[in-house]
């Protein structure tokens, strides 16, 4: 079987009023990957996500997900294998209670009632929102709504999980727990695709990054490579994280060879550096 579960080929799209959202974008996503679509606001990331989920139809080009074109009639049947989490949880939660929203998808897909109950109970405890079960969405905080949104997608046990700006507006604790959940899912085999302009969260959110700006693909590569590519980030209207900036400086000074991208690796690097320094002086 082909390893690529998402194939985007020369896709173009424009919104009513003639706004060109995408002008010919191609890339692939392989099974089990953790990929980020990186780009500033209005770059076309969200549009790409909706196209990948078969919710919008490309004007030109085509997208295949699980070897099925998103425009084909059979695509509806693949819904179960594909979970999508919208940026604004008020778009995602449209029923009267948390539990009703979580069970909405499984019920529509005609999963037997006992299994629906079992799945929703499992997901409530996995995300840690049992206490919110009967709460109506308008009585949840933003962070709680985000968690419930994730649960409504995960309850379908998707093989491919797509999230639009998952870390936007989240406080640090919620962000931490979201990233942990996503990584846990990825370890269990779920392919995770996120769109983001949150460069700081990138090292933990993705192994590979696809950079999009003004509706075009600017480049792609391993997260550590993209984060060090100031030129690429600059063209996309973004800039490297503080830690990368710091170590890039040290690199240009000739003190180190490779640039760490996480705080943990950075700390290790610094200690190493200090050690060699003290060794040299003594």
């Amino acid at each position: 079987m082909d390893d690529a579960i998402v194939k985007v080929k020369e896709v173009q799209f424009s919104y009513p009023g003639g706004v060109n959202a995408l002008r010919g974008v191609s890339f692939e996503i392989r099974r089990g990957e953790k990929v980020a679509l990186l780009g500033p606001n209005g770059s076309g990331k969200s549009t790409l996500i909706l196209l990948m989920a078969g919710l919008l139809t490309p004007k030109k080009g085509e997208i295949t997900v699980f070897d099925e074109k998103t425009t084909s009639k059979n695509f509806q049947k693949l819904r179960q294998r594909l979970g999508i989490v919208f940026q604004d949880p008020d778009d995602q939660l449209f029923t009267q209670s948390v539990i009703e929203d979580i069970e909405y998808g499984p019920r529509n897909l005609k999963i037997p009632e006992p299994e629906v109950k079992e799945r929703s109970a499992h997901i409530l405890s996995k995300i840690g929102i049992q206490h919110l079960e009967n709460r109506p969405p308008h009585r949840l905080s933003f962070g709680e709504k985000k968690k419930v949104s994730l649960a409504t997608a995960l309850v379908l046990k998707p093989e491919l999980l797509i999230l639009d700006e998952p870390t936007a507006n989240l406080d640090l604790v919620s962000r931490r727990s979201l990233i942990d959940t996503l990584n846990e899912l990825n370890c269990e085999g779920t392919t995770v695709v996120v769109s983001t302009h949150d460069v700081e969260a990138l090292p933990e959110l993705a192994d590979r990054v696809i950079v999009v700006s003004h509706g075009s693909l600017l480049g792609e590569g391993a997260t550590s490579d993209v984060l060090q590519d100031s030129k690429l980030l600059d063209v996309a209207g973004l800039e490297p994280t503080s830690i990368v900036k710091l170590f890039l400086k040290l690199k240009t000074m000739g003190l180190i060879q490779d640039v760490p991208i996480t705080v943990k690796d950075g700390e290790k690097k610094l200690l190493e550096l200090m050690k060699t320094k003290t060794e040299r002086t003594t």
């Binding site: 009513p16 009023g17 003639g18 449209f94």
Partner: protein, 228 residues
Amino acid sequence: MHIPDGFLSPQIIIITFAITIIFWIIAFKRVKGRLDERQVPLMGLLTALFFAAQMMNYPIVGGTTAHLLGGAALGIILGPFAGCISMTIILVLQAFLFGDGGLTALGANVLNMGIIGVFVPAFIVLAFNKITKGKGLLVWVFIGAFAGDVLAAIAAGAELGFSQPVFQYGLNVAVPAMAINHSVIGVIEGVVTAVLVGVLLKLRPDVLSKSSVLKSLPAVKAAQENTE
């Protein structure tokens, strides 16, 4: 204009419910037959918006207040049948959530504000749109919305007037009192609805392409073709 319980006689209650139920059935069949899936959330969200907009009161002369009814806007933008369902949802929720309008008076309130207040503006705009070919549209939107509110008030006055002895006053008092009182609201409704339609036509004519009343306008047609 929301008639509470205890104001209408049993005869009027039965008659108004009978007329309203017939309209409900017709409107539901019409809407269901042509329902595009996207219209389900669209109708739900727009109904919520106009419900919220109705919660705000405008101060009018002498310390009294008035709020929009929204029937004209919903009838013109969604079309009269979908508009009727949308207004019905608002009126039922106002009764069952806020006690605004009674249960036994629900038939009358829907007849006044959800049928007369929706169909009259929609038909006035539709008719004059055909005659004047879209010229002076906003003037007709104003007239339609004004007429819708005033006629709805006159209908409410008539229902009350015919409800003697449960209600205290006859037609000669109830009808003029309601009509005069609500002509002020009619003017407010007319201006706000005309501005709303005008701004939408200018900024996003495509959002009006599903309206059976406005879809024949050149600007709306052009926007519709652009999206396809």
